[in-house]
């Protein structure tokens, strides 16, 4: 998992409430044997005018010009502004996989669905919950300003607006540590690598027949 420290990046506003995981990544893409490569199919039904199929090259598919992520000014955005209850619906981990693969690192919204919120942290994404009024203001500023950027500092737990206003946010200390260091469950276990190695050596001596 990529560590998350400080990000200063372009912001895209997705002005809809209750965006569910089926909208984030439609079910036909779950047949894949991969956990990467879902980026081109993020929000597939909104981004394209046709119906996407797994394994299809999406480069030349007809794009929906009205969908916000298709607008030239939001290309390369790494921060998504969201509305209430983002990530509701099925628990598929493909949703954060798709967000991450597309290039997002931060989602800011007034509320998130619980499982999606958890899954984000496991996949290097930082979901930030802010008061609705703050989110409203971010939407207003972002839509009014081309090239609108935010600075997100995980250690300081702050979102900094271009006008200098600093907005603090909450994050669970354990999740913060994992994300900051880029630790997933595997990363955490590997902190005990010396212990595992020592155990393994001992076992190999005692029971060599398990190691041939």
């Amino acid at each position: 998992m990529k560590p998350f420290t400080v990000l200063e990046a372009l912001v895209a506003p997705l002005d809809r409430a209750n965006v569910d995981t089926d909208a984030i990544i439609p079910k036909q893409f779950l047949k894949s044997i991969k956990r990467s490569g879902f980026g081109p199919n993020l929000f597939d039904e909104w981004r394209y005018l046709d119906v996407g199929q797994p394994g299809q090259d999406s480069t030349n598919r007809p794009k929906n010009p009205d969908f916000v992520l298709n607008q030239p000014r939001y290309q390369g955005a790494q921060v998504l502004l969201a509305r209430d209850n983002f990530g509701c619906g099925s628990s598929r981990e493909h949703a954060p996989w798709a967000m991450e693969d597309y290039g997002f690192r931060v989602i800011i919204g007034p509320s998130f669905a619980d499982i999606f919120f958890n899954n984000c942290f496991k996949n290097g994404l930082l979901p930030i919950q802010l008061p609705a009024a703050e989110v409203d203001e971010l939407f207003r500023q972002c839509e009014a300003t081309e090239g609108y950027q935010l600075k997100v500092d995980l250690a300081a737990q702050t979102v900094v607006r271009p006008d200098g206003k600093v907005i603090p946010f909450e994050v669970d200390p354990f999740r913060k540590e994992c994300l900051f260091n880029g630790w997933d469950d595997i990363g955490l276990t590997l902190r005990h690598a010396d212990k595992i190695r020592a155990f393994e050596e001992q076992r190999r001596l005692q029971h060599p027949y398990y190691f041939s």
Partner: protein, 469 residues
């Protein structure tokens, strides 16, 4: 030292590290890999720039998606083919102790090939991205089914994060009657304790009836421990275990064998060890079993009837029964022996070993498939089982009876390949799950022993195998 259960011995000999809340890192000796639950794990490893911790722990095969006929044509379904080819390339890249690819002589269902090659050994921890990994507990292994993210975790760290289970002893004493097999014993156990009865427990199976079983029978029992809700099933080491393993390709030899056997003999629950729960059954009272519903606990005897929901007071249970009977297309109070079948499946990691095929052949011998039965599939659990069966002439018995003799694989246990039930079709199956749609959308599964499956095949309906012999 305090008397310990087998589970406690296995657990404590594998704890690498323990957190204050009891979560432990357990060292994994054997990692079994198949094509369905491994691709994302391999990819995750690669993306994170990690290497597998110990490739000599890996034993792999392709089983879930492989066809059971026309191997010359390869795998027709492109999605299945891609999964199998992905495993091929991952194994080429990563390496393993043993890989038995599609069409290999020793390919087969992962839970059949592990033991028969001696890669499952007493005292090991065994994991696989497949819930029926509990099968390997028959060898006094701590065996767990795991999810894809855990497959990746084990590959990268050789450990699994686990909390200790409670312990249950299921003691089956006495001598089972003629025609009563390991499958009937385990279905009777599930009928008794329910599919959630083992939740939170590791179940050790003991008692004289279990001791009297072959390793094949013990594997059948542990395989279905999972259907009783337990994550692991166990049988203690005895002479049967040791005799089975001697000379297996990956079993230790010479001095290492002697050293191993000396240790393995300690892998039993100590006299006086205390279990959190004890359940006792008398094998002599167990009769051939048939499931009637959509959960393995919905089971009765061949002499029984389809139950009547109207007689059940508890509304939740009653509704569950009504839903199951509707799906199964069954009328309450129908004698089980009057239920006709459309297909018969003899196979799966529960019942596809040589002994299972012998039991089925003993019933099929000199008889033929009933006219109303559309198809009888006999799918050996591995290439080695297939070869052994052919050496004994069992395939000729099956073919003469009008059964189909197929190539090894999971086949119609879960219908990921082309073998499946049509909607509404009824099947006597030796597999482990009778869930809705398990053997094909709308398919109706009745779980039985291999002998009972063969009896249904030749009579066209469920029949008491004891009356056929």
């Amino acid at each position: 030292m305090e008397a310990q259960t087998l589970y406690e011995k296995l657990w404590s000999s594998h704890v690498v590290h323990q957190e204050a809340d009891g979560t432990a890192l357990i060292y994994i000796d054997r990692h079994l890999v198949h094509e369905v639950t491994s691709p994302q794990a391999f990819e995750g490893l690669k993306l994170a720039g990690r290497k597998p911790w110990r490739i000599s722990s890996i034993v792999a095969t392709a089983d879930h998606n492989t066809p059971t006929d026309h191997w010359d044509l390869g795998i027709q379904d492109p999605v299945s083919r891609q999964q199998v080819e992905t495993l091929d390339s991952n194994m080429r890249e990563v390496g393993s102790l043993a890989y038995f690819p599609f069409k290999d002589l020793r390919q087969g269902i992962i839970h059949v090939i592990g033991p028969e090659n001696g890669t499952t050994l007493p005292g090991m921890t065994v994991v696989c991205g497949d819930s029926h990994t509990s099968t390997h507990g028959a060898f006094a292994c701590l065996a767990h089914g795991i999810g894809t993210s855990e497959v990746e975790h084990v590959m990268a760290t050789q450990c699994l994060l686990q909390k200790r289970s409670k312990t249950m002893l299921v003691r089956v004493d006495g001598v089972p009657g003629r025609g009563v097999t390991a499958k009937d014993i385990v279905l009777a156990i599930i009928g008794r304790i329910g599919t959630a009865g083992g939740t939170g427990y590791a179940i050790e199976f003991g008692g004289s009836a279990i001791r009297a079983l072959s390793m094949e029978g013990r594997m059948t029992i542990c395989n279905m421990a999972l259907e009783a809700g337990a994550r692991a099933g166990l049988v203690a080491v005895d002479e049967t275990t040791i005799a089975y393993l001697e000379g297996k390709p990956f079993a230790p030899r010479d001095a290492a064998w002697d050293q191993a056997v000396a240790y393995w003999r300690t892998l039993t629950s100590d006299e006086g060890a205390v279990f959190d729960k004890v359940v006792e059954l008398d094998a002599a009272t167990i009769e051939p079993q048939v499931t009637w519903g959509t959960s393995p606990e919905m089971v009765t005897t061949i002499g029984g009837h389809v139950p009547d929901p109207a007689k059940v007071d508890d509304p939740t249970r009653r509704e569950g029964m009504e839903r199951a009977l509707k799906y199964m297309g069954l009328v309450p109070n129908t004698p089980i022996s009057e239920i006709a079948v459309d297909q018969v499946f003899i196979g799966s990691c529960t019942n596809s070993r040589i002994e299972d095929l012998r039991e089925a052949a003993a019933v099929a011998k000199g008889r033929t498939k009933a006219g109303n039965v559309r198809r009888v599939l006999v799918v050996p659990g591995s290439g080695l089982v297939k070869r052994q069966a052919e050496a004994e002439g069992l395939h000729e018995v099956f073919l003469a009876a009008g059964f189909e003799w197929r190539e090894p694989g999971c086949s119609m246990c879960l219908a990921m390949n082309a073998d499946r039930l049509e909607p509404g079709e009824r099947c006597a199956s030796t597999s482990n799950r009778n869930f809705e749609g398990r053997q094909g959308a709308g398919g109706r599964t009745h779980l039985v022993s291999p002998a009972m499956a063969a009896a249904a095949a030749v009579t066209g309906h469920f029949a008491d195998v004891r009356e056929l012999n």
